[in-house]
C-alpha cells in the first residue's frame, strides 16, 4: 500500500484552479499535476506534519479533488517514480532523509576550503547599528584594533596545506583557491601593505579568486589591485539614496560617506571589477528604495556588466534593534514585488528570493534532467569557511569573530593549525538532520535549516530551525518561476546570497 511521501511539496498556481505543481523534497522531482491528482496525494498523506516546536511553518495549501478514484495506473507509476508516493513507512523515510542529508554534508565537508582574511577589526565608519560597534566604542576591546602583520600572514599561508589535508585534498595539487577579505573595514588605505602581501602570497599558490566586502570609502588606494586579474569582486553597502545613506553610514565626525563611495564604486566598475551593492532594508528605509533605484539608473551603474544590487532585510540582533522595525525576507520580497508595479527602475534591485526563482527557472528551462540542488546545511560556516583574524584565530562564521571562546582553531607561530574540536563539531555538525524539526520538514533540503545565528537568537538553541517564512517563499518562487517559464521568459543570471544575516 502506498502513501504520500512526507516530503511532497504542493505549489498552487495563481489564477489556475486546474493544476498544481509538485516538488519533491529530496529526489529533485518537479511536476505539474491536475487538481484531482493533487487531491489524491493529499488523501494519502499519513498525517499532517507535526507543528514545529519552534519556528513558523506556514500551512500547506489545500488541494481540491481529494479521493483515489480517477487516477490512472500510468499516473500512479509516475508518482512512484518521482517519489511522491512511497512504500516506506514515515519512520523509514525520515531515517533515509536524515541519512541522505548527513551523506551530502559529509561530501560537502570534503570540498576545497574557502579562506577569509580579516586584516583588522578597525573601521573608519561609525554606523551606530554595526554589530561590531562595541569594538570601536568600548575601550576594553581596544586590543582588537590592530592590523594583521606580515609574519602572521606568512603563518596563515603556511597553515593552509594543513587545512586542505584535513579536507582530503593534496595541498601540492594545483587548484583554484578562493580568498576573501572582511573586517572591520579590510580595504582601509592603511591596510594596503597587508593586503598587498596577502595577494602576493595568494598568487604564489596559483589561480585564485579574490573578493572583498568593503565599505568602499578608501577603495581609491587599491586602484591598481582591482579588476579581473586582482580583487575581482566587491560587495559595497549603500543604505539608500545620498541623504538617507549619509544619515546611517557616517564617519567618526558624523559626516556622510555616500559621494566618496559612489565615486569609488564607479571607478571599480570601470576597472572591470564586479560590484554587488547591498542594501540593508528595514521599515525606515523601505520607502526610499525607488529613489535608490533611480539613483543607480541615473549614475549608469546598471548598464555596467559587472554591476548588481540586492536587498537584504535588517535583522534584530544586537540589542539596539526594535524587532518591529524589521522585515522578514518574505515581507521584503513581497514589498519589492509590489513596488515594481509602480516603479520601473525597481528592476535593478534584486529581491531577496531572486536566487530561488532563478534556480527554478533554470530547471523549467532545461527540462527534465537537472540534478537537484540539495542543501544539507545552510552556509559555508558549516562546511568549508575559515576566517582568519589579525591574531591568527580561526572562526567558522564572521558574525562571531573576535570572541575567542567560539574560535574553531588558531594558527601557531610555526604555521601549524590547532583546531578546537569541540567548537568545530558545533559549527561543522549543524545540518538539517541535527534537529527534529528540520528532519521532518519537506522543505529542509531546499532551505538548509536557516541561519544558525538567527536560530540561536530566536530559539536559544544553535541546533534548531530558523524558517524565515521559507515555505511560503519557496512556493511563491516556484509558482512565479513556472509562470515566467510559460510566458517564454528565459532563465535569468542571478547572483546568489550565501547568508541571511
Amino acid at each position: 500500500m502506498f502513501r504520500t511521501s512526507s516530503y511532497t511539496i504542493f505549489v498552487n498556481l495563481p489564477d489556475n484552479d486546474q493544476d498544481v505543481l509538485l516538488v519533491h523534497g529530496y529526489t529533485g522531482a518537479y511536476d505539474r499535476v491536475s487538481r484531482e491528482v493533487a487531491g489524491f496525494l493529499r488523501s494519502r498523506e499519513a498525517k499532517r506534519s507535526a507543528k514545529p516546536l519552534y519556528g513558523d511553518w506556514s500551512a500547506e495549501p489545500e488541494a481540491a479533488g481529494a479521493g483515489a478514484a480517477g487516477v490512472s495506473d500510468a499516473t500512479i507509476d509516475l508518482l512512484l517514480d518521482q517519489g511522491y508516493l512511497t512504500e516506506l513507512s514515515p519512520e523509514e523515510e525520515e531515517t533515509f532523509f536524515a541519512q541522505l542529508a548527513v551523506k551530502l554534508h559529509q561530501r560537502a565537508l570534503q570540498q576545497a576550503p574557502g579562506y577569509i582574511f580579516m586584516p583588522t577589526y578597525d573601521c573608519n565608519l561609525r554606523c551606530s547599528y554595526c554589530y561590531q560597534d562595541h569594538m570601536r566604542s568600548d575601550c576594553s576591546f581596544k586590543h582588537l584594533l590592530r592590523t594583521m602583520g606580515r609574519p602572521m600572514i606568512d603563518r596563515i599561508f603556511a597553515a593552509m596545506p594543513r587545512i586542505e589535508e584535513r579536507h582530503g585534498l593534496d595541498p601540492a595539487a594545483r587548484r583554484r583557491r578562493n580568498i576573501g577579505f572582511f573586517g572591520g573595514e579590510p580595504l582601509l588605505a592603511a591596510n594596503r601593505p597587508a593586503i598587498e602581501h596577502i595577494l602576493g602570497k595568494a598568487f604564489e599558490l596559483g589561480d585564485v579568486d579574490l573578493w572583498a566586502v568593503t565599505n568602499g570609502t578608501e577603495l581609491d588606494a587599491y586602484r591598481d589591485l582591482l579588476g579581473p586579474a586582482g580583487i575581482a569582486r566587491l560587495q559595497i553597502t549603500l543604505d539608500g539614496p545620498p541623504e538617507q545613506h549619509d544619515a546611517r553610514r557616517v564617519y567618526a565626525d558624523g559626516s556622510g560617506s555616500y559621494e566618496r563611495i559612489a565615486r569609488n564604486l564607479s571607478m571599480a566598475l570601470e576597472l572591470g571589477t564586479q560590484v554587488s551593492v547591498r542594501l540593508n532594508v528595514d521599515r525606515n528605509n523601505l520607502g526610499q528604495l525607488p529613489a535608490m533605484a533611480d539613483e543607480i539608473v541615473a549614475r549608469g551603474w546598471d548598464r555596467r556588466p559587472g554591476f548588481s544590487a540586492y536587498t537584504s532585510p535588517v535583522r534584530a540582533g544586537n540589542g539596539k534593534t526594535e524587532a518591529r522595525s524589521t522585515l522578514s525576507s518574505w515581507e521584503l520580497d513581497r514589498a519589492l514585488t509590489a513596488m515594481r508595479e509602480e516603479h520601473a527602475n525597481m528592476r535593478v534591485l534584486a529581491r531577496p528570493d531572486e536566487g530561488m526563482r532563478g534556480r527554478a527557472r533554470r530547471i523549467f528551462a532545461a527540462g527534465e534532467e537537472v540534478l537537484p540542488n540539495l542543501r544539507p546545511s545552510f552556509c559555508g560556516a558549516h562546511d568549508r569557511m575559515y576566517i582568519f583574524d589579525p591574531f591568527g584565530d580561526i572562526y567558522a562564521c564572521w558574525e562571531r569573530t573576535g570572541d575567542r571562546d567560539v574560535r574553531v582553531g588558531h594558527v601557531t607561530p610555526e604555521g601549524e593549525v590547532e583546531l578546537q574540536e569541540d567548537q568545530l563539531q558545533i559549527w561543522r555538525g549543524r545540518t538539517v538532520a541535527s534537529n527534529p524539526v528540520c528532519r521532518r520538514c519537506r522543505f529542509a533540503l531546499h532551505c538548509g535549516g536557516g541561519c544558525a545565528i538567527l536560530a540561536l537568537g530566536k530559539n536559544g538553541e544553535f541546533n534548531s530551525n530558523y524558517c524565515d517564512g521559507f515555505a511560503a517563499r519557496f512556493r511563491a518562487s516556484v509558482a512565479e518561476a513556472y509562470l515566467e517559464h510559460l510566458s517564454g521568459a528565459g532563465p535569468a543570471a542571478v547572483q546568489e546570497r550565501v547568508c541571511d544575516l
Binding site: G83, L100, C127
Partner: protein, 71 residues
C-alpha cells in the same frame, strides 16, 4: 480506484534523481541505497556536491537599524 487513459494528469518538469523502494531498502540495505542516491544527486562519482553552501558569493554583515530619529 484507478482510471486508465487519463490525459494531462501529470506532466514531468524535472525527473527524480533516484527512487527508493521499500523492497530495495530492506533488500540492499540503507547504506548501499544511500550511496546510490548520493551518486545520482551529485551527478556521479567524484563530482562533489551541488552548490549547497554557495560559498563563492559574499557572506554577510549583521546589520541592525539605527535608533529611531529623536523628536
Amino acid at each position: 480506484m484507478k482510471r486508465n487513459g487519463a490525459q494531462q494528469e501529470m506532466t514531468p518538469l524535472n525527473r527524480a534523481a533516484f527512487r527508493i523502494g521499500a523492497g530495495a531498502l530492506r533488500g540492499k540495505g540503507l547504506e548501499l541505497l544511500l550511496e546510490e542516491a548520493l551518486a545520482r544527486v551529485t551527478g556521479g562519482l567524484g563530482t562533489g556536491v551541488t552548490d549547497s553552501a554557495i560559498c563563492t558569493e559574499f557572506s554577510c554583515n549583521l546589520y541592525v537599524p539605527p535608533p529611531p530619529p529623536v523628536g
